[in-house]
């Protein structure tokens, strides 16, 4: 039978070995992390952004690198997903970007602080995270099932700004948010001229519109109008 002193030896040797191994691996990891996270891109603005991130406790609602709270969207890839213009608008007035939805706190940031946070999120977005977040692998199944119309826009032929900004509130082909109406076949409902005016300033077209005036350039509006106005039922093959 095992004696007490043998049990103690097992404990002491095991603990010492494992602690040494953890410290060794940590030294090695610390040598590699700067490369994997592009630490050379941590500019003073990024560092200030991280301080703001911490001192505002954004992690109390969001996850970042998969750590934090489960109340608000994962923000690791938000820079690619929504683009800087959307994030800026969000930080200026969250309520306006997601009217009537789950609430984010308005921190009343200064413009320079918003810039720092955006740079911080851009830096985070470029890290090599060994495959996180995973690519949803059942999407090809889901789209035809929920689209309902024959026209399924492929991600490839959409303007990038559409996939970043509009999809936050609108769905197309069954993918996207549900703050505004689905934009499938929107070309049947509105012509190019109307969509152009709408995108320039929704509130000028409809005073009580829930869609905010978005920070879009002339070129982006033209591109979006061209894209949206051809989402018609005649587009059926």
């Amino acid at each position: 039978m095992l004696s007490k002193s043998a049990a103690r030896a097992f404990f002491l040797v095991g603990t010492a070995t494992c602690s040494a191994a953890l410290i060794g691996l940590t030294v090695d990891s610390f040598a590699r992390i700067p490369g994997q996270t592009h630490a050379e891109k941590i500019t003073p603005a990024v560092a200030r952004g991280k301080d703001l991130w911490d001192s505002s406790n954004c992690m109390g609602c969001h996850t970042l690198l998969g750590e934090g709270a489960y109340y608000a969207p994962e923000l690791t890839r938000v820079y690619d997903r929504r683009g800087p213009a959307f994030i800026r608008a969000m930080l200026r007035d969250p309520e306006k970007m997601y009217p009537g939805q789950r609430k984010m706190k308005n921190f009343h940031f200064k413009e320079s602080e918003i810039d720092d946070l955006v740079e911080f999120l851009e830096w985070i977005g470029k890290m090599d995270l060994n495959g996180f977040p995973p690519k949803p692998d059942l999407v090809p199944l889901a789209v035809p099932m929920t689209a309902g119309t024959a026209f399924v826009a492929k991600a490839g032929n959409r303007p990038q700004i559409f996939n970043q900004m509009c999809i936050a509130c609108h769905s197309l082909g069954g993918q996207g948010g549900n703050v505004g109406p689905a934009l499938d076949l929107v070309g049947d409902r509105h012509d190019a001229e109307y969509i152009g005016r709408w995108l320039y300033d929704p509130l000028a077209v409809k005073v009580d519109s829930k869609m905010p005036k978005l920070p879009l350039s002339k070129d982006q509006i033209q591109e979006l109008v061209a894209f949206l106005s051809q989402l018609k039922s005649e587009a059926k093959p």
Partner: protein, 455 residues
């Protein structure tokens, strides 16, 4: 109770009861927000509620561990606490710092790192306070008449807990390094040194409640804490898969993380078999129930539900979802909350001289809280698995998925109500016990209560 200074434990336990009640209130605030009723947003936004909920948890567990140590160590080493007054001062300081931190959270004063939200200046005070506590316990052990394994394991658990808080305070502007070091606190606490504390307290309870030979209990104690560290230290790697760290952590974290449940399984087998073998039929059955319950529920919450998402292939999908919240609730409840409630159940009759352990409220407290917690875990599980499927597999938008799972938070609220009923009964019983008496006068001499009737 054999030493007068043990009485300070009562005040630590009373603090536990107060902070636990507050923690539950904040839990409800968050559950309602998830269910679509974020009515308090302007006063207590979600991130304030969350930081308060989790920090209150840590604080009351800390207070419980300290109370347990002040109760157990004198009896184990056979002497009074070295600086009894310091123990009271140190409790007051802990409460003051804690309350300041919690109020600060409501005014946007914090550090914003999950579980370590307490702002930096207060961090130093917490460390100082815990070090004073460790010194007090340390001197008591050092000057004690005997040094038992139980006392040493408990003491080193508490000491390492204080020291491991320090890596979490190293400043860095790299989010990955920040997170890497945060786990040295969070993971190495709950899956490392806190298990030492757990082992120490459980073996004290088992020795007292079953009358089994100390040598046998303590030998297995070494084996279990040995298993804990063998798996838990390198098991830290199960948090280093997807935060910008090298890929070899898939192997290290995967293998050692998968071994971690063994320590909890060992703890459960150990407690159950000691309880079975124990000859003496201790009248405080409710304390025994909490003790054995703790060992089993910690295996379910930590071991089983931890294993469910520790492999890198699974964690890729569950990382940072409500699945983690499911595991976190059951694990913290089973391992550490029940542990503190077990030592309180054991110590209260000894401290106050009233034997209320046969009261129906005591039994209801155990069953309602445990069944409630199992149901809460199920609600989180259904919400979490649905979230993983719809968001990470199908690719639906975050907010759209949250709409789908709102209903499970209504379920959570119902389950939490049952849980809260259990806790209310526990606190009711606690209040009935009244204040510690501790001493009686016999022949003009003050004699500790527990010793008096037997002599």
């Amino acid at each position: 109770m054999r030493y007068q200074s043990q009485r300070v434990a009562y005040w630590f336990f009373a603090t536990c009861m107060a902070l636990l009640s507050l923690q539950i209130i904040y839990g409800f605030i968050m559950a309602f927000a998830h269910a679509g009723y974020d009515v308090l947003h302007n006063v207590i936004p979600f991130h304030a509620a969350r930081a308060t909920h989790t920090n209150l948890l840590i604080m009351w567990l800390l207070s419980g561990f300290m109370g347990a140590a002040y109760y157990i160590i004198p009896e184990e080493v056979e002497r009074e606490i070295y600086w009894p007054k310091l123990a009271y001062a140190q409790l007051v300081a802990l409460v003051v710092v804690g309350v300041t931190a919690i109020i600060g959270f409501h005014f946007n004063w914090w550090e914003g790192r999950k579980f370590l939200e307490i702002p930096r200046p207060l961090d130093y005070l917490v460390v100082l306070d815990v070090l004073l506590f460790v010194a007090n316990i340390g001197m008591t052990v050092l000057r004690g008449r005997r040094k038992t394994t139980t006392a040493l394991v408990l003491y080193f658990g508490l000491l390492s807990m204080a020291l491991l808080y320090l890596p979490g305070m190293i400043p860095t502007s790299n989010q990955t390094i920040d997170s890497y070091l945060r786990w040295w606190v969070v993971h190495l606490w709950v899956e490392g040194v806190w298990e030492l504390i757990m082992g120490g307290i459980l073996s004290f309870l088992l020795i007292k409640l079953t009358g089994i030979d100390r040598e046998v209990v303590e030998k297995w104690l070494y084996v279990i804490v040995g298993l804990t560290f063998l798996s838990g230290i390198l098991g830290t790697g199960h948090h280093y898969y997807y935060i910008g760290t090298p890929k070899y952590w898939f192997w290290v974290g995967g293998i050692f993380g998968a071994l971690e449940p063994l320590a909890f399984l060992g703890m459960a087998i150990y407690a159950v078999s000691m309880a079975r073998r124990g000859g003496r039929d201790h009248p405080n059955r409710i304390a025994m129930l909490w003790t054995v319950g703790c060992s089993i529920m910690s295996f379910v919450g930590g071991g089983f539900l931890g294993f469910a998402h520790t492999l890198p292939q699974v964690n890729l999908y569950t990382h940072g979802t409500l699945v983690t919240a499911m595991h976190a609730h059951m694990a913290f409840w089973g391992a550490y909350a029940m542990l503190v409630l077990a030592i309180i159940s054991y110590a209260m009759p000894q401290l106050t001289g009233r034997k209320l352990y046969d009261k129906p409220a005591a039994l209801l407290a155990f069953w309602a809280s445990n069944i409630g917690m199992v149901a809460m875990t199920l609600a989180f599980a259904v919400a979490g698995v649905t979230q993983v499927y719809l968001e990470r597999k199908v690719g639906l938008d975050f907010l759209a998925v949250q709409k789908e799972i709102e209903i499970h938070f209504v379920g959570l609220i119902l389950a939490a109500s049952l849980f809260t009923l259990g806790i209310a009964c526990f606190i009711y019983n606690f209040v009935l016990y009244g204040l510690p008496v501790g001493v009686v006068a016999i022949d003009g001499r003050e004699v500790p209560l527990a010793v008096a009737p037997a002599e």
